[in-house]
Symmetry: C2
Subunit: 316 residues, 2 copies
């Protein structure tokens, strides 16, 4: 049994559990609706149920597992097992670890979902040959995790890693967090879309503008599609966006000097248009690039499974 | 003998060695001129000599020590024992650890001097009750170190920790490193002096302006002295400088979420005028300050001895 681990990726809508073997393959899965609207105890029961069902689907007795790991959204005190603020799953100051241990009868580890994705990519994905890995997710927000010797940097109460809220333009673009000039306000996909909408206003002749007139609001994929069709406006928006990604990532390279940087989120598949240009720009914004080669910039390779595999490796 | 350690703080002019007891007191010292102008081998010999002399001054045989630790300026590959670029002590791609071990006949550990000061403050100084400590030195440049569970964050090849070169104003103030908008270009003492000189130009009626006319170029201490005498121009310069310190430190709090932040450098003694206002500003620039209390901002307490005590605790 020691060769199997349980990893659970908890989202606001769905709980996805997997049984991970010693080759980091997911040999069985289970999915359960989270149902946060039914209250935190019911949501916790659903989260535990996903783990139970996955074990059952693998034909393995739950009490044979040494522990189960859960990747959760929101702010948590990992050492205390408390979800301080998990808005998406309706929990506030909730003793999630103790509740899950009650339901399952085996020790439980918890972690931040971004940390789990980063651990997954480091254990079994794009960064499996590296020890110190900076993981950045470009999505609605800009999340991240720093893996040091295969463990996430936790900081005080497990609250570190708010890379998206590093100030890169004091007094600049307003951020959803309430501050101004955050990295996230320039380099999330939400920011890319805002930048594209401004360009669309200025360039009614652009393909992106035509897209909005005919197909509806612009989105990340449509911006890259327009660029693929040669739209100069889309190309310019993406180029500037790549520079924003490069500024913040360059700073994080100066701070952490990781062995590799891994990008997650839907736009991270845009290697030629985004990831490599962002690295070129990061050379301009990382300390001493004339003597210190930048680490490789990689796209995450495990997709949604990273969270399950990473959760399976949590230890706390 | 296990209760004694050798710590050596290597500067461009002077090598300072100390024998540190189990209560973190320096029970014997020795100082030797570095003499980098005589070449790297002679400088290495001088560095080793300081350690030897300190042991002799303590009346302890050198070969009774388990190891000796050396804090060095510049860029180094800690794991390999190589000083890649140590301009101040005239060494480039120099195998400093092997050379020191040859001279001393005992195992040697090396580390960055900023890391050593941070370890010293964490082991025996201002941050001795904290595990995760962000250490920032406000001086000619802006150096720093992040201590995690009492060990410095090293990153790839020991090259992490260039906090001063986080970009806080893309396209902003030029930095000595060649980039624009670095934290250091706003928050080093060099930057404070530049900010003061601009204000002096605009305010010939200010006490700072009078100081320059009568006493010569302004310096960090003179700026604070003018503020103490009620000079509105100096007070405004320091207030804005405290905000710059707060912007970058706030970002680093979002990134690392340390248990405490310790400031070193001569201006760090300005608790009321600088450190506490910087913390107040950092609340505005750190993620979710409305729910997450900022860590305490402390002034370093060991002065120059931090580097010796921290070096004594190096292990690599």
């Amino acid at each position: 049994m020691a060769e199997y681990r349980i990893g659970v990726d908890v989202g606001g809508t769905t709980v996805k559990a997997g049984i991970v073997d010693s080759n980091n393959q997911i040999v069985a899965r289970a999915t359960v609706p989270t149902q946060p609207e039914l209250g935190p105890d019911k949501a916790a029961e659903n989260i535990a149920l996903a783990a139970k069902n996955a074990a059952q689907n693998a034909g393995l007795p739950l009490d044979g597992f040494l522990s189960a790991g859960f990747g959760l959204p929101g702010l948590m005190a990992v050492q205390d097992g408390i979800l301080i603020h998990g808005g998406n799953i309706g929990m506030t100051d909730y003793p999630i670890r103790a509740k899950l241990e009650d339901f399952l009868g085996i020790p439980v580890s918890i972690g931040n979902d971004a940390d789990c994705a980063a651990i997954g990519e480091t254990v079994a994905g794009a960064a499996s040959q590296y020890r110190h890995v900076l993981f950045l997710t470009l999505g609605t927000g800009l999340g991240g995790s720093m893996i040091i010797d295969r463990k996430p940097l936790l900081g005080h109460g497990g609250l570190s890693g708010e890379f998206g809220h590093m100030i890169m333009h004091e007094g600049g673009e307003h951020c959803t967090c309430g501050m101004d000039g955050c990295f996230e306000a320039y380099a999330s996909v939400t920011a890319l879309i805002r930048q594209a909408n401004r360009a669309i206003q200025e360039h009614p002749e652009s393909l992106m503008s035509e897209y909005v007139r005919t197909a509806g609001p612009i989105n990340g994929k449509a911006i890259f599609d327009c660029a693929d069709r040669g739209d100069a406006t889309a190309l310019a928006v993406i180029d500037r966006y790549a520079e924003y990604v490069g500024v913040g990532t360059g700073s994080l390279v100066s701070i952490f000097r990781p062995d590799a940087v891994v990008f997650g989120g839907a736009v991270s598949v845009q290697t030629e248009r985004l990831i490599l240009p962002a690295r070129k720009y990061a050379e301009k914004y990382a300390f001493a690039s004339h003597v210190l080669a930048l680490p490789p910039f990689l796209s995450a390779s495990l997709g949604n499974d990273a969270g399950i595999i990473g959760a399976a490796y949590l230890e706390n």
